[in-house]
């Protein structure tokens, strides 16, 4: 049933604004595979453009998995190596740390997706899940950028479950989640906790609005709960449009409130 809603969402929101096609960055991971699968069911694989954007240090297994997803869903992949455009920039800043490099890669990929969007008249489909969005575990204007996101209300654990129910390739589902921004990167090592645990805390904290005492009685440690709550608070800016200095009586998004579907 969740799959049906998400397929209907993509079909409706894409066609309503006069588009037939979408473009999706395919990393070889489960999120982008699931987004692509939903888009294929909504619009047909011929209307889904998967873009593979490896960097020279990206794992070759990632690209192989992305190609496997394309084959599985009947899509034709386009591969764009982002190494030249990233490297030429960091020639100016050879000491840049890996966080800075990772963000740059994510934003280069975004500019490619939006260029493909223009070139092919295709909307950019997002791949950020609810866990990442709540924890702020994504690059602002990078992988967080999209026109529409079918996964944003699914925790990572739910993404896995839906991917399994849609029979996506096991290797994509079973491998350890990684942003693959540097060699050997692992989401769960970097975050310091596993998705299955943090999803449970987030679900009870955000969806069920449990108090701290209630979370404690559910068996979650105070320190962990505090850490998660701090990450959610600290990344709120990433989930909102830029703030606007208030001057007039009708400021955009404050008193000037129209649905996004306005005029569609």
């Amino acid at each position: 049933m969740v799959g049906d809603i998400l397929v209907g969402f993509v079909r409706n929101e894409v066609r309503k604004v006069g588009f037939e096609r979408v473009v999706v960055g395919l990393s070889g991971g489960v999120d982008s595979a699931l987004s692509a699968a939903i888009a294929c069911m909504a619009l047909g694989p011929d209307n889904v453009l998967p873009i593979l954007m490896p960097y020279r240090t990206s794992s070759s297994a990632s690209e192989a998995d992305a190609r496997l997803v394309c084959e599985h869903l009947g899509m034709t992949p386009t591969v764009i190596d982002i190494s030249p455009q990233v490297d030429v920039y960091f020639e100016r800043f050879p000491d840049a740390d890996r966080g800075r490099r990772g963000n740059k890669m994510a934003r280069e990929r975004m500019t490619i997706l939006y260029d493909m969007s223009w070139a092919h008249g295709a909307l950019v489909i997002g791949t950020s899940n609810k866990t990442e969005l709540l924890l702020g575990y994504g690059t602002l204007f990078g992988d967080m950028a999209s026109a529409l996101n079918p996964l944003g209300d699914l925790y990572k654990t739910q993404v896995f479950a839906l991917a399994r129910s849609m029979d996506l390739p096991r290797t994509v589902i079973d491998k350890a989640p990684s942003a693959d921004l540097w060699e050997g990167q692992s989401d769960e090592e970097e975050l310091g906790f596993g998705y299955s645990l943090v999803d449970l805390v987030l679900y009870h904290m955000v969806d069920e609005r449990c108090t701290k005492a209630e979370l404690r009685s559910l068996g979650f440690e105070d320190a962990f709960v505090d850490d998660v709550a701090r990450r959610v608070r600290g990344s709120q800016y990433k989930r909102r449009p830029p703030i606007i200095a208030k001057l007039s009586a009708r400021t955009i998004d404050r008193e000037f409130r129209y649905p996004r579907d306005w005029g569609t």
């Binding site: 969402f9 409706n12 129209y258 649905p259």
Partner: protein, 323 residues
């Protein structure tokens, strides 16, 4: 007239279920049965002209299918998440659009939803019952949800009454009009509203809705669909009345509306499965004989103690003005 003679239009599903079977055997001496059409549509947000055209099309189809009444969802002429569009899409009763729609109700009665503007510039979430070519009854939504994803009271004014009215349903030539009452979506979440209409004498609840689907974590059915299933069955059975629930479909700003339109009989049983989640016109045959049978089996309304209710309400009013 039977349903097989009614020649439903291409996308019109035939009425079915036990009530329809019994109705088909009733004599023409006293007409007790009526075909009701549920127009489960996906309105285009803010596009009154396009939605009006769609209404006119479906009214024709419903009429061709033999319906005496066609019910559209809440805000069917405008779409739901209007925000600042509310004053821009609002219609006055004498507007060309509403007069055009009313003019289409000469053969088929129509329930349609719009933002209704008053002379003093208030904007109501209203459902209009049109019959005989004119606006016959207006219900202004009383309970405007303003929590969670809802923001209605920010933009719209609250209605202040629940009233029964006589629904002519002339196309079905009933021996007398049906007593009906309208509850719009959130109105249904307040059982006092349904109880008031029942006390006012209705036998037919008309419930237009724009219910956003949500609550997917709790198993395979949407949480909202479960809630409406419980409410529609409960009201129909406890008030021994038909309940017509017409919800919309489609998406607005990523929010999906789940459909599930249905008619529940006065015994609390659905006449047929809820409508699947896509645009469609569904016909159901309802029969006043079923209301009579339900009230013989369960004379709940006869036994209702309004005196006790009134006395206790007076006591509570004296104690606490909030009650």
């Amino acid at each position: 007239m039977t349903l097989t003679e009614a020649r439903p239009a291409a996308d019109v599903a035939p009425a079915s279920g036990p009530h329809a079977q019994r109705a088909a055997t009733s004599t023409d001496a006293e007409r007790t049965d009526v075909i009701v059409a549920l127009a489960q549509v996906a309105p285009r947000l803010g596009d009154v002209a396009a939605n009006l055209d769609r209404h006119l099309e479906l009214i024709d189809q419903a009429g061709a299918g033999g319906a005496a009444l066609v019910v559209f969802p809440e805000l069917s002429l405008t779409g739901y998440f209007l925000k600042d569009l509310v004053p821009e899409v609002a219609l006055r009763e004498q507007s060309d659009q509403l007069q055009t729609l009313a003019a289409a109700s000469t053969t088929v009665d129509v329930v349609a939803g719009c933002v209704l503007e008053s002379d003093d510039a208030r904007f109501y979430n209203a459902s209009l019952y049109m019959a005989g070519g004119r606006i016959h009854h207006v219900h202004r939504k009383v309970y405007l949800p303003t929590y969670g994803l809802f923001d209605e009271a920010r933009y719209m004014a609250q209605g202040d009454r629940f009233r029964a009215f006589a629904a002519p349903l002339a196309a079905a030539a009933p021996s007398r009009p049906w007593q009906a009452g309208i509850l719009i979506c959130e109105d249904m979440w307040h059982p006092t509203a349904a109880a008031l209409l029942a006390r006012d004498g209705i036998e037919l609840f008309l419930c237009p809705s724009s219910s956003p689907g949500r609550g997917v974590v709790s198993g395979h059915a949407l949480g909202t669909a479960r809630s409406y299933d419980a409410m529609t069955r409960t009201y129909a059975q406890l008030f021994t009345s038909y309940l017509v629930y017409c919800n919309r479909v489609g998406f607005e700003d990523g929010v999906g509306f789940w459909g599930g339109s249905r008619v529940v009989g006065p015994d609390g049983r659905l006449l047929d499965d809820p409508a699947a989640n896509h645009e469609q016109l569904v016909l159901h045959r309802i029969d006043r004989g079923a209301v009579r049978r339900a009230r013989i089996a369960n004379p709940l309304l006869r036994d209702e103690r309004h005196d006790v209710n009134d006395a206790e309400t007076d006591r509570l009013k004296a104690r606490n003005t909030r009650d």
